[in-house]
Amino acid sequence: MNVHVSTLDEKTRSSLAIESHSETEEYFINMGPQHPSTHGVLRLILKLDGETVREVIPVLGYIHRSIEKISEYSTYRQIVHLTDRMDYLSAIMNNWAVARTVEKAAEIETNERIESIRTIVSELERIHSHQLGWGVLGMDMGAFTPFLYGFRDREMITDILEETIGARLTMNYIQPGGVMFDIHPDFVRKVKEYLAYFKPKLDEYEDLLSGNPILQQRLRNVGIMDAETALSMGATGPVLRASRVPYDLRKIEPYGMYGEVEFRVAIGTAGDCWDRYYVRIEEMRQSMRIIEQLIDNIPEGKFLLKKPAAKLTIPEGRHYSQIETARGVLGFYIVSEGKETPYRAYFRTPNFHNLWSLTAMAPGGRVGDLVAIISSLDLVIPDIDR
């Protein structure tokens, strides 16, 4: 089979050769890798006609750390520590993806206490990830106050998690067979206090930013993506749900304690930037609802069923499992030889697939809209490059 992969050089040269239909001349500019609104080191090559974007070509690899290759040399417990450097805003959920795959493959059992602790800390982290996304979106749109508000409330969740876990950002908490430490004695009280504090604050968030006519004009009817495009691009998480596809792994394929709690999946109607923004706000409400149902009755029991010193092997074959992080579906795929380390490890990361929906949304819009679209996708670049 002969497959031709067009290089970047060919792409830019061939499109320059075609004469533009309009009177203006099309040209290329670079956005990134050092750019304040690409949230890291993402590089986009833009084909512009005046101020109108004709094509977006993402160029990757500026933070490629070869995590998959290192995984081939690491035991399954060591892989857990690499995953929270991928999407560092949903570190605990990334741990869970590895733990769930390994538990499913090696048939390790967990109890209800472990599952409810996992669910609670994951939802807390989902809230703090969306708070950061909300604040940074405000900053990208030119308002600095949301950034301060988002980070103030995010810091409080970080404090609660730090008491139990010991880290502020790259938290290694969930491991195959349980969680690393038992929850702090103050954990339940502090989470309850936080929920009581944050509920009115979320309404304040909406007063502050959602009702702002400037923000609405910058987000509404910008970067529209219909359901079909979103599905064909492989987008997941809030990006897909904003395009009217009610796909949430927590509902469709319940894991943890999600099968036993009541919550609703937020979906958008138009699939524009506004919907992606608002789906996240609604998800924060639903996350608080989930925590409220679980926090009062965490069952008694052990927090770690498989001892860390015990040898952990996975039967020969292919294993795959996935979970819903704050940004979408994170899958972990192992090809095992029956040894302590995998033969091949692959991460299906949500941001990589969400990024490509940008190439479908941005053409036809303005350069200023592109910043709004990138911001509404809420990308984490190390998760794209791995």
Partner: protein
């Protein structure tokens, strides 16, 4: 503001017309430089969030030390905070960014990745082991990622260095504060060469040899 309201009146000499203050040129310039460091917004990965937490957010508030004006353009910045892993593809861009910054320029390396390669030191084919192989680094702040307080301490150390170090006639001279002592008979160069030898042994993978040794798993 303590300097102006408290220390200055003691140093002033009364003269007819107005008060005059005598000081060294270097002291004034270094004082001004140390207290108005403008960082470049350069973040590659996880440490960038903690770096945003320090100067941007209200709890840690880097503005107290005069370093909150984050600039996206290297031409307006004079401090580069390396936040996050540097990989081989980013290395030339980092060098360009550094060279675009006007003199005097200072570099703080935060996090394990920029100091030595961190969690990606072994078996990675793309990570740069230590950002100081590309650009000179003034202050190292360890951690994965370091707490915002750690970054604040790093900034204060840099300010101390600037105040005690440079002179106008000989720019670029840095006096690094001694942080810990090495045992007798061992120099920093010995440790560095030993580390490099270890790294080369581990990191350079002969792909063909590895492929020969590795058997394909059965049934796949």
């Amino acid at each position: 503001m303590g300097l102006i309201t408290e220390k200055l009146p003691k140093m002033m000499a009364g003269m007819p017309g107005s008060d005059i203050i005598f000081t060294r040129m270097d002291a004034v310039i270094n004082w001004a430089r140390a207290n108005s460091l403008w960082p470049l917004t350069f973040g590659t990965s996880c440490c960038a969030i903690e770096m945003m937490m320090a100067p941007g957010a209200s709890r840690h508030d880097l503005a107290r030390f005069g370093a909150e004006v984050a600039r996206p353009s290297p031409r307006q910045a004079d401090m580069l905070i390396l936040a996050g892993t540097i990989v081989k593809r980013m290395a030339p861009r980092l060098r360009t960014l550094y060279e675009q910054m006007p003199e005097p320029r200072y570099v703080i390396a935060t996090g394990a990745c920029t100091i030595s390669g961190g969690p990606f030191i072994y078996h990675s084919y793309s990570t740069v082991r230590g950002a100081d192989t590309i650009i000179p680094v003034d202050v190292y702040v360890p951690g994965c990622p370091p707490r915002p307080e750690g970054l604040l301490y790093g900034l204060l150390t840099l300010q101390k260095m600037i105040r005690s170090g440079e002179t106008v006639r000989e720019p670029g001279i840095r006096h690094k504060p001694v942080t810990s002592e090495t045992p007798e008979g061992i120099t920093i160069e010995d440790i560095k060469s030993e580390m490099l030898a270890l790294l080369e042994k581990d990191a350079v993978v002969d792909v063909r040899k590895a492929a020969e040794q590795m058997e394909r798993p059965t049934g796949i």
